[in-house]
Amino acid sequence: MADFEDDSSLLALLLDVSPAALSCLASTPGLGLQSLLEQLLTFVNTFLLLNDANRLAVFTAGAAGCQLAYCSSSCLPPAVAGPAAVADAAWPPSASVLSGLQQAVTAVAQAATAAGVPPAAGAACQLSSALSRALCFINSQQRRTATALPGGGPLPEGPDAGGGGGGAGPGQRAQAARVLVLAAAPDAPSQYIAVMNAIFSSQRSNVIIDACHLGQGHSAFLQQAAHLTGGVYLRPTKPQALVQYLNSVFTLDAGTRALLRLPGAAQVDFRPSCFCHKRQIDLGFVCSACLSIFCEQLPACTTCGTEFEGKQK
C-alpha cells in the first residue's frame, strides 16, 4: 500500500476560443492555435499519466457559449459509456482530444464568420457562462461518485448540506476538483456580476480556479478568481514554451501545491465594475443595504430600491 494521500483530481479545462482570443493567439510570436492545441494535448496527456484516477473534461468557451469538447470516459454516465465507448477511448486520449478541440475551434470560427462578426472584433468569451458550466459539470461528477459508492445512497440533504458542497457523504471525501482557464481575450466588464457569482460559488464548493492568461495585459477577473479560490494566476512570459508552464504548475494537485513554490500574482487587480454602466472603477458608491456598486451617486439603489438619504449633488 502506498503511504501517501489520494492525489487524484478532477480537472475542468476551459479553453478560450473567442474571436478576440484567436486573433490574439495568431499575433503571438511562436504560438499559433495549432501549437497551442498541441501543447495543450501534451498537458492533458501528462495530467492523465500522473495518476490513473485523474479525470478531465475540456470545454471550449467561445463568444456564443460553451461546449464540451472532450471528457474522460470515466466522466460519462454509465449508460453512455458502454463497451463501445471503452473500445473507443484511446489511452491517453491523444488523437481524440486534439480532433475534438480542432472541430470545436473551427466550428466556432465558422459560426463567427457566418454570423458576420469580423474575427478581429473584440468579442470576448463568455467567461461567466463557461465557469458556470464547468462548476455544474464538477458538481454533477461529484454527486454521481457520491451516489455510486455503496452506502452513499441519496445525497444527505440536511440543513448542513449546503455548506459542504460537492455532495460527498460524511465518510468519503469527494475527489478534489479544479478548473483551469486558458484565456487570451480581455475581460468583458459587462460580465462582472456573473463572473463574481461564479467565483463565489466555486469558492463555496472548494473548487480551485487556476488561470493562465495568454493575452496582452492582465485579466482582473482571472486574477480575482485565482486569488479568491486559492488557485494560481499565471501570465507566461514566454508563451511559446507554454507546455512547460502547464506541466510545472497546473498538473499540481492541492496537496502537492502546499509543498512547492508557485508563481503568485504580485498584485491582484481588485477593481470592480459598476452595476449601472459596467465600467471598471477605482472609487465608487456602495449601497449600504445590498452592497451594489455604482459609479455615480443615485437617489435610490437600482438593485434593491433602498432610498439613499443625505446630500444629493
Binding site: 500500500m1 499519466l49 500522473l50 490513473d52 489511452w91 465518510g171 507546455v243 509543498l259
Partner: protein
C-alpha cells in the same frame, strides 16, 4: 513495515543495473513506475521531463517551499535510489540528470500517447459480447480466492488454469512456497502456511499481488524452474515480462488476442489468467483475454488498488464491545478473520465473532502487529461502517495496541549481580557509584544485592577493590 515496501517501487529497487536499463526502455513499465511514485516525485519528473541535459541541483531544491524542503529531499532520494535521477558534477556544480531512456519513454507517452501498438492490434469480432464487469469481477475473485484458500489450509486445490488456453499450468504451491508464504513438511509433503503467510493475508490486495508476482518474475529470471517456457533469463527478458504484466493493467480494459502473442508472452498470459488477472473468453476462432480488476490494481501504484478493493468488498463491522460482524460467504475471508477474531457464530452469510485477548495474542504470536489487524478491519469495513468516523472504534484499536505492548513487558538485558557485601557502607557506596554512572539496574537494601549493566562490570570491580582497600576489609 513489510506491507509498505511490497510494491512496484520496492521491486524495481532490487533490480540490478542492466535489468533496470532494459526496463526503462519499456513504455508500460515506465508509466506504471511513474504512477507508483509519491506525488512530489511525480511532479519533479513532470517538470524535468521536457528539459534537456542536466539541471542544477540547487534549482531543483528551490522548487520546494522552505518548510517542505525535507519532503522534496525525500522525493529526490527516492528518484535517485531508483536511478531515475543521477547526480553529476559539472563545472563545480551539482547537477541532476534524468535517466535518458526513461525520459524518452515518458516524453513519448506525454506527446503521442501509447496506444500506437494497440491501435494496430485487432479487435474482437463485434458480434461476440465481451464479458460484463460482473463476470470479470467474479472470475478474478474466484481465481484469486482459490490461491488464498490454498494458502490458508494447504489442502484445497489451487486455482486451475482455464481450459481454453491449453497452456502449461503454473505451479501455484511451489510459487507460494518459494515466496516464503508456505512451508513444506518434509515427512508428509504437505504445505502449510508460514508466519509470513499470515502477514500476507492481512495486507492489502496491491501488496499481495506484488508479493506473488515478484516471486513469479524471480522464477522467470532464474531460468526454467519457475515458469515453463518463460522468456530467456537476463535483463531484457525480465523487462519484457514486467512490461507485459503492467500493460495488462494500463490498457483500459482492452482485450488481448491470445494467438497474436509471442510464445513467451503466451505463457505469462496463461499463468496470469490462472491467477485471475486475465479472463479468457472465446470469440470466433480466437481466445481473447480480458484484463480484470486485479490487473489494474497491479499497475495502479497502490493508491488506486486500495480504493478499488475497498469499494467492492467491504464486509466487516466492528462494534465498540469488540464484536465483529462480517457479511461474507467467502471461505478465505472467514479464514483471514479467524486469524485474530474468535468465531462465535457462523451463519450462511454472516460471521459473528469477538476480538478477545486470547485471539489477538495468538495472532501477535504469529508476528502480526496490532496495526496490521486494525488496518485490516479498517480497509475491509462495511460501507455503512466506513461512513462512520472512526471506522474501527478507538477502544478496539487501542486495546489491540495494549495487548501488543503487553507482550513486551519483560526486557532481557545482560547484567552482573553482586551480593554478600562485607559491609553496608561498601554496599551503599557501590549503589551510589553505579547510579551515578547510570548503570544501576536493580538494588535491594534488605538483601544487600545489586545488579548493574554487564558492560559496567569491570568498572564496578575496580571500584569495589578500591573501596575494600580504603575500608580495610
Amino acid at each position: 513495515m513489510a506491507a509498505a515496501s511490497a510494491g512496484l517501487v520496492a521491486f524495481i529497487n532490487q533490480l540490478e543495473g542492466h535489468q533496470l536499463e532494459a526496463l526503462f526502455t519499456q513504455p508500460y513499465a515506465t508509466v506504471a513506475l511513474l504512477r507508483s511514485l509519491q506525488p512530489l516525485a511525480r511532479q519533479v519528473l513532470a517538470r524535468l521531463v521536457c528539459t534537456g541535459g542536466a539541471i542544477s541541483a540547487a534549482l531543483v531544491s528551490s522548487f520546494a517551499r522552505p518548510e517542505a524542503s525535507s519532503k522534496l529531499a525525500a522525493a529526490l532520494g527516492e528518484l535517485t535510489s531508483l536511478r531515475l535521477l543521477s547526480k553529476a558534477a559539472q563545472g563545480g556544480q551539482q547537477m541532476y540528470v534524468l535517466h535518458p531512456s526513461f525520459q524518452a519513454q515518458l516524453r513519448q507517452a506525454m506527446c503521442c500517447g501509447m496506444m500506437d501498438d494497440l491501435q494496430a492490434a485487432a479487435l474482437p469480432p463485434p458480434d461476440a459480447a465481451p464479458p460484463s464487469a460482473a463476470e470479470l469481477a467474479a472470475f478474478a475473485r474466484q481465481q484469486w480466492e482459490a490461491v488464498l484458500l490454498f494458502l490458508v489450509d494447504g489442502a484445497s486445490s489451487p486455482p486451475s488454469p482455464p481450459h481454453v488456453l491449453r497452456a502449461a499450468p503454473l505451479d501455484v504451491p511451489s510459487l507460494l512456497a518459494a515466496a516464503g508464504l508456505m512451508l513444506k513438511n518434509e515427512y508428509t509433503q504437505r504445505q502449510s502456511i508460514s508466519e509470513a503467510g499470515f502477514q500476507f493475508l492481512l495486507t492489502g490486495l496491491y501488496s499481495q499481488l506484488w508479493a506473488v508476482v515478484r516471486q513469479y518474475l524471480a522464477g522467470l529470471g532464474a531460468g526454467p524452474t519457475g515458469g515453463q517456457g518463460g522468456p530467456p533469463g537476463g535483463g531484457s527478458g525480465l523487462a519484457v515480462a514486467i512490461n507485459f504484466l503492467l500493460r495488462l493493467g494500463l490498457q483500459a480494459g482492452r482485450p488481448i488476442c491470445y494467438s497474436q502473442l509471442g510464445p513467451a508472452e503466451r505463457a505469462i498470459a496463461a499463468h496470469m489468467a490462472q491467477l485471475g488477472l486475465l479472463m479468457p473468453a472465446a470469440a470466433g476462432a480466437d481466445v481473447w483475454l480480458h484484463p480484470t480488476r486485479l490487473a489494474a490494481v497491479l499497475a495502479g501504484g497502490g493508491r488506486a488498488g486500495e480504493s478499488a478493493a475497498a469499494s467492492e468488498d467491504g464486509y466487516v463491522i466492528v462494534e465498540s464491545n469488540f464484536r465483529v460482524y462480517a457479511y461474507t460467504t467467502s471461505a478465505v475471508q472467514v479464514a483471514v478473520l479467524r486469524i485474530f477474531v474468535r468465531c462465535d457464530a457462523l451463519l450462511p452469510n454472516l460471521v459473528v465473532g469477538t476480538v478477545t485477548r486470547d485471539s489477538a495474542s495468538a495472532a501477535l504470536a504469529l508476528g502480526i502487529t496490532a496495526t496490521q489487524m486494525a488496518d485490516f478491519l479498517r480497509q475491509h469495513a462495511h460501507p455503512r461502517a466506513a461512513a462512520k468516523h472512526p471506522v474501527v472504534p478507538a477502544v478496539v484499536t487501542d486495546q489491540l495496541r495494549l495487548w501488543q505492548a503487553e507482550r513486551a513487558r519483560l526486557r532481557a538485558q545482560p547484567a552482573a549481580i553482586y551480593s554478600r557485601f562485607e559491609s553496608p557502607q561498601l554496599f551503599s557506596g557501590a549503589v551510589e557509584f553505579a547510579r551515578q554512572a547510570g548503570a544501576l539496574l536493580y538494588c535491594s537494601q534488605e538483601r544487600q544485592q545489586l545488579a548493574v549493566d554487564a558492560s559496567f562490570h569491570d568498572a564496578m570491580r575496580g571500584h569495589l577493590r578500591e573501596r575494600k582497600m580504603a575500608l580495610g576489609l
